[in-house]
């Protein structure tokens, strides 16, 4: 029984990280129809900036902030100069974001080297509780809390503010929003940069969890995030939340009972969802 509690907590923590990656991806896909392959590289940039600043300043909060700010600026740069040139052309978007992903992942290797950088958890999150034989790692609880906080935050932002209203309207009918005199391009940039910052945050939080950061972690996590988006339904915020939790729980379960099958299980789930409900488990009934 104990093992199930531990696995559930592991899964939820993993799900929280996935959610940070996938929610940005999903909203970008929903609003702009952009398949963003730079998310993986933003993820590792977040992680590396975090490690860099943390070893310099020893401040957890400051390091997280630095990672978020750097990836936010990178997101703005990507959108303004590259992605905005190829709106409406899906293959070109995939190609251009793949190119950026290759460049910036290689830059990480140039700046920080190809070997993994190791990093410890900050002191106040390093411990673990032992409740009746169940070991609960503080950091995982922290991740779940952050995930919930961000989820509620995005939910409120999307549903209770004017910005959120415009973004939601943009997901459904971008041309109509434009016709109402709203400069949707600014929103495009902001949403793209916001998604990038969330990916950076995920990378920054991932590094202390695993204890190290490598330049190959980006692609792996990006594939997982894409699977979440497909499973949850593209452009659906609830979908990426639900999909992340589902994939996180399944991942920790599979990792415990059949470690070799992790990727197969994820792809299998995606294949089943695509076969029976192509719009995703929580897909919006909107056709674009």
């Amino acid at each position: 029984m104990n093992i199930f509690v531990t696995l559930a907590i592991n899964g939820l923590a993993q799900g929280a990280l996935l959610f940070l990656l996938a929610s940005g991806l999903s909203i970008i896909l929903g609003l702009m129809g952009v398949v963003n392959f730079t998310h993986g590289t933003l993820f590792i940039w977040g992680g590396y900036v975090y490690i860099w600043v943390y070893t310099l300043t020893e401040s957890f909060v400051f390091a997280i902030l630095a990672a978020v700010v750097v990836t936010f600026i990178m997101g703005m740069f990507f959108e303004r100069f590259f992605v905005s040139r190829v709106y409406g052309n899906v293959p070109a978007q995939i190609l251009i974001t793949l190119g950026l992903q290759v460049i910036f992942t290689e830059l990480v290797r140039v700046i920080w080297g190809a070997t993994p950088l190791s990093i410890g958890r900050p002191d106040f999150l390093a411990g673990a509780w032992d409740i009746g034989g169940v070991v609960i790692v503080h950091y995982r609880i922290f991740l779940i809390a952050v995930g919930l906080f961000i989820a509620v935050g995005i939910h409120l932002l999307l549903n209770k503010t004017k910005i959120g209203m415009i973004v939601r309207a943009g997901v459904q009918r971008p041309d109509m929003v434009r016709a109402l005199g709203i400069n949707i391009n600014t929103y495009f940039t902001m949403v793209f940069a916001g998604g990038a910052a969330l990916a950076g945050l995920a990378g920054a939080l991932y590094a202390p969890l695993v204890g190290s950061m490598t330049s190959t972690a980006g692609m792996h996590n990006q594939v997982l995030a894409f699977i979440v988006v497909v499973v949850g339904g593209m452009g659906s915020f609830i979908g990426s939340a639900g999909g992340s939790v589902l994939l996180g729980l399944m991942g920790s379960g599979v990792a415990w009972f059949a470690p070799g099958l992790a990727t197969v299980a994820n792809v299998g789930l995606m294949a089943i969802v695509l076969a029976f409900k192509p719009s995703g488990l929580f897909g919006l009934a909107v056709k674009k």
Partner: protein, 342 residues
């Protein structure tokens, strides 16, 4: 998109001269140049197989390397475990054929489920194939008894293939034969249906074509061609590792077709020559500055530049020039004739 069925006389002469030059080349060049060209020929077929998907079917396959890498692994494993003989090479070809068609069938059955085209299906297809490629790579990494995992598998090859100059000719013959076969495929009625699916899948379906079946055939042909080029690549390097199964390897094919021009088939040959020569030249520059060792930086930059500034590649450029010349000629003759009548 662009399809010249009959090759003009001038083109024939040009191709003939090119062929003679390529036949003489290994006798006048260094060994490294010969190997570079063998690599160009093999990568050209790999990229051509990709162009059938990307250019003729409009399908972005991010797991295409699984065919290529598996072909290389199949020949390596056979040579290593059973014996490095020529019959074993033929067995490897047959196994690659069977493996690739089954793998393509499975991939197609999963990917082509979501019908209707549009952005959503392109995206879902790209992601699914990416994940499928990752599965194969993981398997190769984990299955250490046979594949030697991440260390890679080095093997001996039959003496017939050992000579670099002779192998150059095999690679050249391989390129010519495969180009003719793939050209035939593209010009066949099946190839035409594939193009109609790319242009408008719904309409092709209304015309009574079982589009899923045609897409499956296209994917299988492409997978088999890619597997064959993998076999040749493995024999050339006498070494296989999981690098050949990574997304990076798929992106190589994507870049080559992009640079050469998608949907042109021959663009893959030009693209392969360009990309491979640039790559080896950049590596020569590394004594000037270590930044030139970072091939991937230039690789990524080439991607972005091509997508923004040259979306149709070299072949697109060539066709636009010839088309302009033709229309100019037409305009001139029209002017001349109208001048005479008035």
């Amino acid at each position: 998109m662009i399809l010249k069925k009959d090759i003009s006389k001038r083109m024939m002469i040009f191709l003939g001269i090119l062929l003679i030059a390529l036949v003489i080349l290994p006798h006048v060049s260094t060994l490294s140049t010969t190997t570079l060209f063998s690599r160009i020929f093999i990568m050209a077929i790999y990229a051509m197989s990709y162009d059938i998907l990307r250019g003729y079917m409009g399908f972005i396959n991010l797991g295409h390397a699984l065919f290529f890498g598996s072909g290389a692994y199949i020949v390596g494993i056979l040579f290593n475990n059973i014996g490095n003989t020529v019959p074993m090479f033929l067995v490897a070809i047959v196994i690659t054929l069977i493996y690739s068609s089954i793998a393509a069938l499975i991939m197609g059955k999963i990917v082509f489920r979501s019908k209707g085209g549009g952005a959503a299906s392109v995206v879902a297809g790209a992601m699914t194939t990416l994940a499928l490629g990752e599965i194969v790579r993981h398997t190769a990494e984990r299955w250490r008894d046979v594949t030697m995992g991440a260390d890679g598998l080095s093997f001996r090859i039959p003496p017939v293939f050992a000579d670099r100059t002779m192998f150059y000719y095999y690679a050249l013959i391989f390129l010519i034969v495969m180009t003719l076969i793939l050209r035939q495929f593209i010009n066949s009625p099946t190839g035409r249906v594939l193009m109609s699916i790319r242009e408008n899948e719904q309409r092709a379906e209304f015309l009574g074509f079982d589009t899923e079946k045609y897409k499956l055939i296209g994917l299988q042909v492409s997978g088999i061609a890619s597997g064959f080029s993998g076999v040749m690549f493995g024999v050339m390097n006498r070494f296989v590792n999981t690098e050949l199964l990574t997304v990076q390897q798929t992106l190589n094919a994507l870049l080559i077709t992009l640079v050469g021009g998608t949907g042109t088939l021959y663009g893959a040959i030009i693209g392969s020559g360009f990309v491979n020569i640039v790559q080896s030249q950049l590596l020569n520059f590394r004594r000037v500055h270590p930044i030139f060792e970072r091939w991937l930086l230039f690789f990524g930059a080439m991607y972005v530049i091509v997508v923004i500034f040259m979306p149709k590649g070299f072949m697109g450029l060539y066709y636009s020039i010839t088309d302009k010349r033709k229309s100019k000629l037409q305009n001139q003759t029209i002017k001349e004739t109208s001048g005479k009548t008035s």
